[in-house]
């Protein structure tokens, strides 16, 4: 079974340019997450979707970040315009929609963004 797919794996852009990341979760997983991971730190949640609804976007910097999951399957995270401080790894994860112990999150390999 395919895991969480992310593209691109690497992206280098100049500041003030827009950038988009794409994620395809594991088939059947209703919950999708976007995380940001800075060097030497653990992942930090940006947004969580249950199907197509964003149920937790409290940590998403809405002035420049946006996300969508239109059909409740794949998702896109966008930054416009990018700033130097946005350089990080952007991770996507998915899980079965369960509130119990079966809430293991499966992570993709991430997209490493470098803003010059």
């Amino acid at each position: 079974e395919a895991g969480v797919v992310q593209s691109p794996r690497y992206k280098i852009i100049e500041k003030k340019q827009p950038v988009a990341f794409w994620c395809n979760p594991i088939s059947g997983h209703n919950t999708l997450y976007w995380y940001l991971q800075n060097l030497g730190q653990g992942p930090e949640l940006l947004i969580r979707y249950e199907n197509e609804e964003a149920v937790d976007d409290s940590q998403l910097p809405k002035d420049r970040f946006s996300a969508e999951r239109l059909k409740g399957v794949d998702s896109t995270l966008k930054i416009q315009p990018a700033e130097l401080g946005d350089s990080a790894v952007y991770l996507c994860a998915s899980s079965l929609d369960s509130g119990g112990i079966d809430n293991e999150q499966f992570f993709g390999p991430g997209t490493r963004l470098t803003v010059l």
């Binding site: 969480v4 919950t31 997450y33 030497g40 730190q41 653990g42 992942p43 930090e44 949640l45 969580r48 149920v55 937790d56 991770l91 994860a93 899980s95 509130g99 112990i101 809430n103 293991e104 999150q105 499966f106 992570f107 993709g108 390999p109 991430g110």
Partner: protein
Amino acid sequence: LAKTTQPISMDSYEGQEVNITCSHNNIATNDYITWYQQFPSQGPRFIIQGYKTKVTNEVASLFIPADRKSSTLSLPRVSLSDTAVYYCLVGNSGYALNFGKGTSLLVTP
């Protein structure tokens, strides 16, 4: 979410047992304890989860004392490939995981 405290780094030799302890003094009654592993250039990977006493799977064991204010991840006979960052998370939902900085484990020959 309960705050967790774990060592920043640990070193071990191949073949040794490694125990990583995580403190979570304000764990809630309905919180679970979950450990993830992350290799360089990869996303975190679920290792083990427990609520109380002991849980064992093919990768690790998780020991949780009766007061649940701490937990210990035990990796038996580590190999070089166990070099990774290990995160301890506490919560009652898998949705908003607080990863913290984790413990960087280095295994050497």
